[in-house]
């Protein structure tokens, strides 16, 4: 038998001036199951709470209804009150008779009647409440960072700094990502390598950080605090522990025709290589597609030359399984493929390059050792034309609908650097808009125009074609309202950036949601920008949306802060109001998992007794209470009613409906 206590609050005069609180208490006392009904000036005050605590003990109450202000205000308070008196905190219901009653109604009779109905509704719900306990789960104090670009590096360093272990998983043979390829960075024009490589070295030297390069995440199981991840460490054919990075092998390798990815394919590299001088780890890797020994068994020069016997042609992929409490996705970006933009002649003319290729051409460690020459004939270009928004802000379907955000600034940087180093080179920029919000950004752009005399042409480029050894850039000059043709030596395309193609697979593995542009969705666009809606998954860098370096670094640190906050806990208290599947009703049809935003529902084959010694194996839904956030989407999708939401059960809500509709 239920023993319910009702506590009607006056809220000073806030409630009592429009609601006859004594009458409410009196009428509700007559409700079946109610054994005590009190009213008091301030229920939330220490005295009010003491009154509730005493009543719970004295009358052995099984549940309480507090008729007071909004549950958003004091539900937590009264739950604690109940708990301190030995009652389960979820045996508390609030009837909102202030915000939803006394404050909006003037007529005392009307407001009192409504307060009584709201009280009855809360009593009706309470009668179906069940004591709930939040589950607890231990937290594995280790984080996984997927992606070793500046975002992943920064997040990893911050997490390690706080004392937690971090693994960085990077698909390429070195960490560093796109930033390692850059020459200078805006708006300060300091060299990218000078600021990035120390961080890379920090990573390598940090005891808490384990760098797994040339590796991919194979599968992710588990949930916040308890992820189990399989990582494929691809065969490098070089023993990482032995290799000293001396580079001898690279000199001797006879198969030198591989395209150098690090230089955007602008030059070649041997089959055994270290991507760049400052690579971390500074360890060679063999490209099995290119290596003569691996392809047809004839060679083995590198092994012969290696002083430390690091070469191992028999190495196999290795699967490592590790547990993590949190996962940071920092998979970064790549420039889009330009196959849809034939009008710019990228595939036809060697001297039409992307901005990232230009970075390599200008970089001292690049293929031309920092001397800006055209790829076709290695001559210095005298006229360079930049084309902005190649595939960005493109609603035609060929490109991307969003702004890639970084192009305006890096183009200004390129233009400025070129004019600085080669003052007699003409630089033109075709743009739609120049977007330069950010600290010192607009000043930077204006310097390019005003101080360095870069020619900005507002307008789109129609086509690029070759004539008399020149690349003719034909476009519109909207300000002078005329068609212009600029004969150029080098054309640079500001190609849009898109999320790394690996992100889709990773999003599926960690059940993070992804938007139509393949950017990962944040838990809340404004208030939770570095968390995925899936608990325990965090977003760092461009995988969440286009960003420049300073923004990426701040987000990476913010992300790390969230991870540290999670890992600092020994146990995670789960949400008590979670979905639950009644296995006797569940037919395993799997529609519920389709609507779960958190991937909290899995299906298991379970044995059920049929009687007569027979059993049946049946597929049933199982909700992970550590992951479920309690939205209830699954409950409505489930036709059999097997799925219900604790704290907001179908029965409870229908009881409220019944109580409200009784007149």
């Amino acid at each position: 038998m239920q023993r319910i206590g009702v506590f009607v609050c006056w809220c000073g005069s806030n409630i009592a001036s429009t609601v006859d609180v004594k009458k409410v208490a009196e009428v509700l006392k007559a409700e079946p199951g109610v054994v005590i009904s009190e009213n008091y000036q301030y229920m939330c005050s220490e005295n009010g709470q003491a009154l509730i605590r005493n009543a719970i003990k004295e009358h052995s109450l099984t549940g309480i209804v507090v008729c007071s202000c909004s549950p958003r205000m004091h539900e937590a308070t009264f739950r604690r009150t109940a708990e301190s008196a030995g009652l389960n905190p979820y045996m508390v219901e609030i009837a909102n008779i202030r915000e939803q009653c006394s404050w909006i109604h003037k007529d005392m009779e009307e407001a009192t009647e409504k307060a009584i109905i709201l009280g009855r509704s809360a009593i009706a719900k309470l009668k179906l409440n069940a004591p709930l306990t939040s589950g607890e789960s231990a937290v594995v104090k280790r984080a996984l960072v997927i992606g070793g670009g500046i975002a992943g590096i920064q997040s990893a360093l911050d997490i390690a700094e706080a004392g937690f272990e971090v693994d960085i998983v990077e698909t390429s043979p070195t960490i560093g990502g796109n930033m390692a390829k850059l020459d200078k960075t805006f708006p300060t024009l300091d060299c990218a390598a000078c600021i990035l490589t120390p961080k890379m070295v920090d990573c390598a030297q940090n005891e808490k950080i384990d760098i797994l390069t040339y590796s991919e995440v194979e599968s992710v199981k588990g949930f916040v605090g308890n992820f189990k991840v399989q990582i494929r460490k691809k065969a490098r054919f070089v023993d990482e522990k032995k290799c000293t990075g001396c580079g001898e092998c690279m000199q001797k390798c006879p198969s030198k025709k591989g395209l150098n990815d690090f230089n955007m394919g602008l030059n070649t590299r041997p089959a055994i290589y270290i991507p760049f001088a400052q690579a971390i780890p500074n360890v060679a890797v063999i490209d099995p597609e290119q290596c003569l020994k691996l392809k047809n068994g004839k060679c083995g020069l590198c092994a012969m030359k290696c002083n430390v016997n690091a070469i191992d042609y028999t190495q196999k992929d290795e699967i490592i399984e590790r547990e993590y409490g949190a996962i940071v996705v920092a998979t970064g970006y790549k420039p889009i493929s330009l196959e849809n933009f034939n009008e710019y002649g990228y595939s036809q003319y060697k001297d039409v390059v992307t901005s990232l290729e230009l970075e390599r051409l200008m970089n001292a460690a690049g293929p031309s050792e920092g001397h800006l020459v055209r790829p076709s004939d290695h001559k210095e270009p005298k006229v360079i034309t930049f084309i902005q928004c190649v595939g960005s802000r493109d609603t035609s379907g060929c490109g991307k609908p969003y702004c890639s955000k970084i192009c305006c600034m890096y183009t200004a940087k390129h233009a400025m650097l070129i004019r600085e180093k080669y003052p007699d080179t003409e630089v033109h920029v075709f743009y739609i808009d120049v977007r330069t919000p950010g600290k010192n950004y607009d000043e930077f752009f204006r310097r390019a125009v005003e101080q360095y005399g870069v020619d900005y042409v507002k307008g789109m480029v129609g086509k690029v074609y070759e004539e008399n050894g020149k690349l003719m850039v034909q476009g519109a000059d909207l300000i002078n309202n005329e068609q212009v043709v600029i004969p150029s030596d080098l054309v640079v395309l500001a190609a849009a950036i898109e999320p790394s193609p690996t992100v889709r697979k990773i999003a599926t593995m960690v059940t993070a949601s992804i938007d139509t542009n393949n950017f990962l969705t944040e838990a809340h666009a404004k208030l939770r920008p570095v968390e995925s809606p899936t608990a325990g998954i965090f977003l760092s860098g461009v995988c969440q949306g286009p960003k420049d370096i300073p923004e990426t670094v701040s987000q990476a640190s913010a992300c790390a802060a969230k991870v540290i906050g999670l890992l600092a806990k020994d146990k995670l208290k789960c949400n008590a109001s979670v979905a639950h599947s009644d296995e006797t009703l569940c037919s395993g049809c799997s529609v519920c998992a389709n609507v779960c935003p958190y991937g909290a529902i899995t299906y298991v084959d379970k044995e059920f007794r049929l009687g007569g010694g027979k059993t049946e194996l049946r597929r049933v839904a199982s909700v992970n209470p550590a992951v479920c956030q309690g939205c209830g989407a699954c409950t409505v999708t489930c036709p059999s009613g097997a799925m219900d939401l604790k704290g907001f059960t179908t029965g409870q809500i229908m009881a409220e409906v019944d109580a409200i509709c009784k007149r």
């Binding site: 006797t584 395993g588 036709p639 009613g641």
Partner: protein, 324 residues
């Protein structure tokens, strides 16, 4: 069409004999010529009762929920419409697909016994079926009908085609329906709300809550229906009030929305001839209109429209298809 029966029978015999399947799910002859019943055949002698003809209207797919759990493979004959239900049940993990040997079988529409009875036919001695017409022999007399006159409602608008099977038995192209599947839905939508209310009140008040529509429905495959579950808060055994008639049918239609393949069994079996499929078809028509064409059961993987969304979906205030 008689040839189809022979081919199907032959197929069943062969597959039973060579051990490919342990049993056959098909249709069995009855007592009145038209009263075929779904049946499981275990041997060649069992198969003497097998028949596939113009009265093989019953959708066999739902029986596979039980049959596919048993030891050994089951051969099932699937008419085009049945195959959609089959796929849907596979998608919902209710059929163990590996245990089923599917044979798609040509169908040019099945006959409605109720319609034949209205034409004065009480017993059937034989049927000669052509693509567009049919001759029924009854008590020595021959009756010829244009298909539209005597087809089951679900068949006269059927646009379903054979999907993928282990094997197919088909001799002719499928006839194209001469009627529009959504015609009556559109008619109802064009009525005033008062007229629609009168129509549905008349129809739904006939309901005797025998649950035939639910129990035959391949989408209604819950282990226990909410309407049978006392704990659900909406359990009911009889329509005690006009509200319950509506509640049952609205909720049932809602529960199968996006999963209903429009197999039409609900209307075929209703003893009170309530056009229940018009409820499901309304949902289908709305889904097609609002969220893009969707045919449940066309494959066994695509997410249903109620478990998906786009950010630009229509608002509930602007979805009404019909008249006010």
């Amino acid at each position: 069409m008689q040839k189809l029966n022979e081919l199907a029978l032959e197929k069943a015999k062969t597959l039973l004999a060579n051990g490919t399947v342990a049993r056959v799910l098909g249709w069995k002859k009855g007592e009145l010529g038209y009263d075929l019943e779904p049946a499981v055949f275990y041997s060649e002698s069992d198969l003497e009762g097998f028949i596939y003809n113009a009265f093989s209207g019953a959708n066999l797919s739902k029986y596979l929920i039980e049959e596919s759990k048993k030891e050994g493979k089951v051969l099932v004959f699937l008419k085009p419409c049945d195959s959609y239900s089959f796929n849907q049940l596979v998608k919902e993990h209710r059929i163990v697909k590996e245990n089923v040997y599917t044979v798609g079988i040509e169908c040019q529409g099945k006959l409605d016994v109720k319609k034949l009875k209205e034409k004065g036919i009480e017993i059937v001695d034989g049927v000669i079926e052509n693509v567009d017409d049919v001759t029924v022999i009854s008590l020595g007399k021959e009756y010829n009908f244009v298909k539209e006159e005597v087809l089951l409602g679900k068949c006269s608008v059927c646009e379903k085609h054979l999907l993928s099977y282990d094997e197919v038995i088909s001799l002719h192209d499928k006839r194209t329906p001469k009627l529009d599947r959504f015609e009556i839905v559109k008619k109802l939508e064009a009525m005033t709300a008062d007229e629609r209310y009168a129509f549905w009140k008349g129809e739904l008040s006939k309901c005797i809550r025998c649950n035939a529509c639910r129990n035959v429905c391949p989408a209604c495959n819950c282990l226990k229906c909410v309407f049978d579950n006392d704990a659900s808060g909406i359990a009911s055994k009889a329509n005690s009030d006009s509200f319950e008639e509506k509640l049952f049918h609205i909720i049932r239609a809602f529960h199968v929305a996006g999963r209903c393949t429009d197999c039409g069994e609900c209307s075929r079996v209703c003893p009170q001839a309530i056009p229940l499929h018009l409820l499901n078809r309304k949902f289908i028509s709305d889904i097609n209109r609002l969220y893009g064409e969707f045919q449940a059961g066309e494959d066994d993987v695509t997410k249903g429209p109620l478990t998906a969304y786009t950010t630009g979906d229509a608002e509930p205030s602007e979805v009404f298809g019909g008249n006010k």
